[in-house]
Symmetry: C2
C-alpha cells in the first residue's frame, strides 16, 4: 500500500505510528515479556506472526504497526481484515510497554488502527480477550475505547478462563 499514508504522526506530539520493520522485533519481544500478562505460549504465537511479517499490501495480510517515541518502540498492534466479510476487521494483538502504560500510548495506537481500517473501508473492529483478572485493565481499556462485549465462551482458554468477544462499530466516533 501507499506507505505515505501510513507514515503518519500519531495523536501525541513527537509520536510516530509506522509500519513494523524487522529491527523492531526485539522491542516487541521485550514488551510482551515485560507486560507480565501473557503466557509463554501467547508470546511464542505473537512472535511467530511477527516473524512471518510481510509488508501490509492486501487487506487480509497481518498488518503490524508500532508506536515510536523517545527513540524507542512503546507499543505495537497486529490486525487484519476478516476473511469472508465485507467490512469487518480483527485486532489480534495490542501491547504497550509497561513503562508507557497510562500515558495514552494505547489509546493513540487504537486511534491509528481505526484510522487505517476506516481508510480501507472497514466498518467494525472485533477482538477476543480473556476474562481473567490479569486482563481487567485490558478490558477496561477496550470498553473506554468504545468496544462492547458481544460474546463470551466459558472456560474457552482453560478452566476458569473465559473468552470475551468485543466489537466496535467504527462509525461511532
Amino acid at each position: 500500500m501507499d506507505l505515505g499514508a501510513i507514515h503518519q504522526t500519531a495523536d501525541r506530539v513527537g509520536m510516530i505510528f509506522r509500519e513494523f520493520a524487522p529491527d523492531d522485533r526485539s522491542a516487541i519481544d521485550e514488551m510482551l515479556r515485560a507486560c507480565g500478562v501473557f503466557t509463554d505460549e501467547e508470546i511464542r504465537v505473537a512472535l511467530e506472526i511477527v516473524d512471518a511479517w510481510s509488508p501490509f499490501e492486501q487487506d487480509e495480510d497481518y498488518a503490524i504497526f508500532v508506536l515510536e517515541g523517545d527513540g524507542r518502540v512503546q507499543g505495537y498492534v497486529c490486525f487484519s481484515k476478516t476473511p469472508l466479510t465485507t467490512s469487518t476487521w480483527h485486532l489480534y494483538w495490542i501491547c504497550v510497554h509497561p513503562e508507557y502504560q497510562g500515558t495514552g500510548a494505547g489509546r493513540a495506537l487504537m486511534h491509528q488502527v481505526e484510522a487505517v481500517i476506516r481508510s480501507r473501508g472497514g466498518e467494525r473492529l472485533a477482538l477476543e480477550t480473556s476474562g481473567q483478572p490479569r486482563f481487567d485493565r485490558t478490558r477496561r481499556f477496550y470498553r473506554s475505547a468504545g468496544f462492547r462485549e458481544v460474546g463470551r465462551i466459558k472456560d474457552f482458554y482453560k478452566t476458569g478462563d473465559d473468552c470475551l468477544t468485543f466489537c466496535k462499530e467504527l462509525d461511532e466516533r
Copy 2:
C-alpha cells in the same frame, strides 16, 4: 495419528466416517455448490483449505473427514484444535449433500467429530455461523445437536448478516 481409530464406522449401518483423501475433492466441491447456501467466496475458501490438506497428525492441523455411504461421499467436516486453548476445538465447515439432508447424515457427522475431539481430550466445540434466513435450518441443526448461542456480532459478514457464535460443552451427553 492412528488411522485405525479413525476408520471407524459411523452411527448408521453401512456408513463410514473416515479421513479425507484427495480423491474426495470433487465430491466436496459438488456438495458445497449443490447446497445453495454458500457464496462463491465461501466455496473458494472451503476448497482452499481442502487443497491445503495434510494428514491429521497435530491437533492444530485442519482435520478433514468425510461420511461415506451408498458408494459416495455424503458429507464432510473440517475442524481443528483452537490455538492458545487447552481443550477448545473449532468447527470450520460442515456440509451434507442436499440429497442426503434429513437422513441423519449431519447428526452422524457431528457425533463422530465430537468423538474424535473427546478422544484427544477436547472439552468443547465452538463454531460461527450466519444469522441470515438461508441458514435457519443450519442453526436449528446446531441447537438440536446441543449447541448454545454464546455471541453475536451485528452485520459481521455484511450489512444485515450477523455472525452467531455457538458452543457445545462435550461432557453434556
